[in-house]
């Protein structure tokens, strides 16, 4: 057939032209989608890694937590470490019972370290319990220490004693964990309460894990203490 060659050339031009046109249009379409991507559904965006947010993190709890953190040195670069009883009273702006009730959900997570009368020394049971609780961090951001002193004795002495008990906890943690965790300072929130605010009732002897199980526990003993717990709240 004498038209075979022109026909073949035409077929070649058409097939190659179609292939090139197809490829060009496919790449161009992709380029356009690349430049103007479809808006992603925000609900489908991956969440960002964050600390635990436990159900007990109520707005009231967080408000107290935030005030304590801001005022007691954790939230900034202040050299001050911890809050005094007067601070807490002002910051919390809540009654003793309401303040203590905030921490009730931490009964399983936290513990109470008991001290001897007029002493800030951690005994072996307290050290063991403190280490256990510290090492069970999970997703928590802050570790709270709320030290107390009983009602016996002068207010100034009790305040000082409470402060020392809080410091004992901090020193133990620094001594044992600073090498593994250089940022203990940024995690530790301390309050030391004298006898004038938020004393614990005897019920805490049974409802909470404390460091002297099987030993007598009463209103006085439970307040010669330091409450410790990781707090699973985001702020």
């Amino acid at each position: 057939m004498k038209h075979a060659l022109p026909l073949g050339l035409l077929a070649g031009a058409v097939s190659l032209g179609s292939a090139l046109g197809f490829v060009h249009s496919e790449v161009r379409a992709a380029s356009k989608r690349l430049a103007e991507p479809a808006r992603k559904d925000p609900a489908l965006q991956a969440a960002v890694a964050d600390h635990t947010e436990a159900p007990y993190c109520t707005p009231q709890f967080k408000a107290v937590l935030q005030r304590v953190i801001n005022a007691c040195g954790l939230g900034g670069q202040e050299s001050r470490r911890g809050c005094q009883p007067a601070d807490v009273k002002t910051l919390a702006s809540i009654s003793d019972d309401d303040f203590n009730a905030l921490f009730t959900p931490l009964a399983q997570r936290g513990a109470i370290l008991l001290f001897d009368d007029a002493s800030e020394k951690l005994d072996e049971g307290a050290k063991k319990l403190l280490a256990e609780r510290w090492e069970d961090r999970r997703g928590a951001r802050y570790f709270f220490v709320v030290a107390r002193a009983s009602r016996t004795g002068a207010a100034d002495m009790n305040r000082a004693l409470s402060h020392k008990r809080a410091n004992s906890v901090e020193i133990f943690l620094q001594d044992h964990y600073k090498s593994q965790d250089p940022e203990i300072d940024k995690k530790l929130g301390m309050l030391w309460l004298g006898k004038e605010f938020a004393q614990l009732s005897k019920g805490y002897c049974t409802d909470w894990t404390h460091s002297r199980p099987g030993k007598p526990c009463n209103d006085e003993a439970i307040n010669r203490s330091a409450f410790i717990s990781w707090v699973d709240c985001r702020l």
Partner: protein, 443 residues
């Protein structure tokens, strides 16, 4: 000559070429869709136009993401898909087949030979790809199988053309036709004689003879095949957009220092670039990325830290349900493997047996533990140790401190730990690494 035999190469060549164009066009379409850096379904069917594209993992997606689906991946984002060469080549064979079909015996012997030789080349390419699919991918994508069939049919057409060129009497030109064989001419106005001789062949075609043709025809045809095969690839490369502005927009680690010594060092044999990998041992995408890094000889060039990040709420407080149940156990086994230098081994084993381990994880923690114990008995006590749990907590806190998205895998590169965008961890990985970590291009 039997006219059917004359037409066979052209008919078969046309059918094979049409099939080849069809399958390579769908393959190209699927590949080009991904140039927008998004995830798309792929056509994994013998009748791709008639069935819907398939989302998620399938043999065609696996083939597409494999290092064998494209060339020059380090130079172009996604590389140049090999389907483009097939598309151009089959376009050539379609035109050539149409020519042979219409030309018949008018086509020269050299043309038949050139077509025959050229038509064997797609079969060679298919043979190579078949071998790779069999030995490296372990699966056959249906579009690829369609191309294998097309190349086989084309090879049959080619062999038929070669047989025709070699087996027929050949005349150099029309003067060789014996004039005596020509039919006697009856003068105008006279009736045809009653004994009329049958019409005699007056052309080479009528005689079943094929002109030899110029010896340049064969190289010219092969050159045309090369030009056709390269054409779509050149157009593709020229039309590709500039991806560099998109590569570095996924942030970096604000706190890359592993202050708590929680991450695991997994240094390759030829470390050239710092990297941090956030992975879950039961995450299929992590497995894919890992395999890609290994198969493209990148993993051995990484001085990597691995932040093991199980998407399992048994240990990861950031999830309200387990995406990969059992991942916590494997993550702890990975951490436990580090002191004995077995962390990489645990990770490789987790990926290699991922399906089975994921199923065991769903069935219950004990069965998965038994499996881990069976493979790594020396790690068993460590997995339950409180120190291991505490270390895993620290890894997760590393993610919190760096505000990392709860998503795996994630790859961070270089001393600044720039994040490789998720969109660039598959087809665009080589190109992206070339931009973000040029040291990795060194051998």
């Amino acid at each position: 000559m039997n006219p059917n035999r004359t037409r066979l190469p052209g008919v078969l060549g046309s059918v094979a070429s049409a099939l080849g164009v069809f399958f390579s066009a769908f393959s190209t379409h699927d590949y080009a869709l991904h140039l927008d850096r998004q995830l798309h379904s792929t056509h994994c069917s013998f009748v791709p136009g008639l069935s819907d594209a398939t989302a998620g993992a399938n043999a065609c997606t696996a083939a597409m993401y494999s290092p064998y689906s494209a060339l020059l991946r380090e130079r172009f984002w996604g590389g140049i898909p090999i389907s483009l060469f097939a598309l151009g080549a089959y376009a050539f064979f379609l035109a050539a087949s149409v020519y042979l079909l219409t030309a018949g015996n008018a086509a020269s012997r050299r043309a038949w030979q050139g077509f025959g030789l050229a038509a064997l080349t797609p079969l060679v390419a298919s043979g190579v790809m078949f071998f790779l699919s069999l030995t490296r991918l372990g699966a056959f994508c249906k579009l690829c199988v369609g191309l294998y069939v097309a190349s086989l049919l084309l090879a049959v057409a080619g062999l038929s053309a070669l047989r025709k060129a070699g087996g027929s009497p050949v005349a150099a030109d029309a003067t060789l036709i014996d004039p005596a064989l020509a039919a006697p001419q009856v003068p105008a106005g006279y009736p045809q004689p009653a004994y009329a001789v049958p019409p005699q062949p007056s052309t080479l075609e009528d005689l079943g003879l094929i002109p030899t043709g110029s010896p340049l025809v064969i190289p010219a045809l092969l050159a045309a095949l090369g030009a056709f095969a390269l054409g779509p690839a050149l157009i593709y490369a020229a039309a590709l957009p500039d991806y560099t502005p998109y590569l570095t927009g996924c942030g970096k680690l604000p706190e890359p220092n592993d202050k708590n010594h929680a991450l695991v060092k997994v240094t390759g044999t030829r470390p050239k670039e710092q990297a941090l990998l956030l992975v879950d041992p039961l995450c299929p995408t992590c497995k894919n990325l890992h395999e890609r890094l290994v198969s493209e000889d990148i993993f051995e060039k990484l001085d990597a830290q691995v932040a093991i990040f199980p998407l399992d709420n048994a240990c990861n407080w950031m999830l309200d349900r387990p995406l990969h149940p059992g991942a916590c156990e494997l993550a702890k086994a990975f951490l436990c493997g580090e002191p004995a230098g077995k962390a990489r081994l645990v990770l490789d084993w987790s990926y290699a047996n991922q399906e089975e381990l994921a199923a065991l994880g769903k069935a219950g923690k004990d069965q998965l533990r038994a499996k881990i114990r069976g493979r790594f008995p020396e790690l068993d006590s460590c997995i339950d140790a409180k120190e291991t749990k505490a270390r895993l907590d620290k890894v997760l806190h590393f993610a919190v401190d760096n505000k990392i998205q709860i998503s795996t895998p994630q790859l961070f590169l270089g001393s600044s730990y720039n994040r490789v965008c998720d969109e660039d961890t598959d087809l665009g990985l080589r190109y992206t690494l070339g931009i973000m970590a040029p040291h990795l291009e060194q051998p």
